[in-house]
Amino acid sequence: MAEPLEQKNEAEAQGAPAELPEAPPPGYFEGESMTRRKVFTIASQGIGGLAGLAVVLPAVGFAVAPLFHRGKERWESVGSTGDFNSQTYRQVVFTIVPGIGDTGKTTAYVRRGSKDLGEKADEFVAISTRCAHLGCPVRFVQAAGNFICPCHGGVYDFQGKRIGGPPVRPLDHFQTRVRGGQVELGPRYSVTNQLQPVQARDPGEFTGGIWNYLYPPRPSTFPAP
């Protein structure tokens, strides 16, 4: 093991000249803390990085901006108060995203509030057809008094509470109000299993308790009533 070390010492002893002190690079001056090359390297990389950010940041902001944009609150009349009763739902179609034709329309089931269910008789309930599982359109089946989803078999009771299948929460609601004898539907909101209103969540997201933090409300949606 000691042999190679010995050899090295021999080579030094044979008069290999000790290394000269390194010559200063061109442009060196007394007291310089950084070589010219290093200054230019850092400067060009820094300026290049700034230029890159100036291009990338606006582009990213452009792509991400819709997350923080809340559209104008829309209210749309769907019929006069006399059109709805508390025993069954009436299907209405209205626009939630204006300016894009049929794509911006959605369906809701509307009824008058029922005292039997602990609701006020002068209020209106509007249930979204968007299934709380993955967003397929549910339909109200009169004979069963249930909402049924065609995609994966989600079933909801008369109030929109889940009673079967994969959905994770009750059906969403739309805010309602009466203006000039007309029932108007407004922004969407989600509900907990106890029908407590919360800010709108996407389908598949649980509501209530800790779930309100695991699936945080998005800035693009309206606050719950």
């Binding site: 997350l67 944009h69 995203v97 794509t103 911006g104 397929c136 995609c151 969540r201 389908p203 693009s220």
Partner: protein, 296 residues
């Protein structure tokens, strides 16, 4: 000179086999190693000679043929078989998607009110439109199948092992990007199936805890499918993802050429030739006894 030699320009000609021309190392033919020898008679100026041989002219300025011959005539292990063409087949499927996609884009309108109409117009009225759209539609499935068979070949032949791990990772990223292509392309016909399938896919994205809701908003460009959702998917489908895929295919191919391919697992490695005796190494000719190999 055979007929092949007169058709294929010297710079692109395949190097000789090992042992050919009495050389044992498979060196390139003389005209390949030094193109000027054959092409330019003594005394003829370079700029006059160059005009007679376009490939040679370009090659002198770019060195491209060295790269091409190196890539096209690289050595492959014994036992290389048809399974090794699956990667090229996938690449071919991608090229078909790119070409047909360009022509589809000439007729497509990414607008919620006009997309479906433009697709039906393209399919029913445009000359060969149904054929081109069919190639794009079925080619997408073919590409997915080929990727998975290619991946299975790599797995079962053990071709993902050292030193090719990075190429496996790149391949997996390419697989995911191809799936993103499938997802974003599915919405574009904008019929009922596309629409609801995209809603379901989007809501699955939203079920990821904490970041899911924001990801879904990002994909949709808002809380509901809106005016810019379709154009967002269109831009991802025809610009962003293909760009990434092309770049990664380049890296994938570079590593394939650089590292070479593996032999099938049933081909045994050849036994190495007997090495120089160890004794000779130990007793160096300089007598230092430090294990240095003797100079010859």
């Amino acid at each position: 000179m055979g007929i092949r030699d007169s058709i294929v320009p010297a710079p692109l000609r395949k190097p000789g086999k090992p042992g050919a021309n009495g050389k044992g190392n498979g060196a390139a033919p003389a005209d390949l190693r030094d193109p000027d020898v054959e092409r330019r008679p003594a005394g003829e100026p370079l700029h006059e000679a160059a005009g007679k041989d376009l490939v040679g002219w370009v090659d002198q300025r770019t060195g491209a043929t060295g790269f091409l011959t190196g890539m096209l005539f690289r050595k492959v292990p014994k036992g290389t078989n048809w399974f090794y063409t699956l990667g090229s087949a996938t690449l071919f499927a991608f090229i078909i998607q790119a070409i047909t996609g360009v022509f589809l884009a000439m007729f497509y309108t990414p607008s919620t009110t006009q997309a479906y109409g433009s697709v039906t117009h393209l399919t029913n009225d445009v000359f060969l439109g149904e054929f081109v759209r069919g190639m794009h539609k079925w080619g997408a499935s073919v590409m997915m199948i080929l990727i998975f068979v290619h991946m299975a070949r790599t797995y079962f032949f053990g071709a993902y092992k050292y030193p090719r791990e990075i190429n496996w990772v790149i391949g997996v990223v390419l697989l995911i990007l191809t799936m993103v292509m499938g997802l974003t392309g599915y919405l574009l016909p904008f019929d009922q199936r596309s629409f609801w399938a995209t809603i379901v896919a989007n809501n699955i994205t939203g079920t990821g805890p904490v970041v899911g809701p924001y990801l879904a908003d990002f994909l949709r460009a808002g809380p509901e499918i809106g005016a810019t959702t379709l154009s967002r998917f269109y831009a991802l489908h025809m610009l962003a993802i293909p760009g990434l895929i092309i770049g990664l295919i380049g890296a994938h191919l570079y590593l394939v050429v650089k590292l070479g391919t593996t032999a099938p697992p049933w081909v045994r490695a050849e036994k190495p030739k007997p090495a120089t005796p160890v004794v000779q190494l130990a007793a160096g000719s300089n007598g230092s006894g430090n294990g240095a190999a003797p100079r010859r």
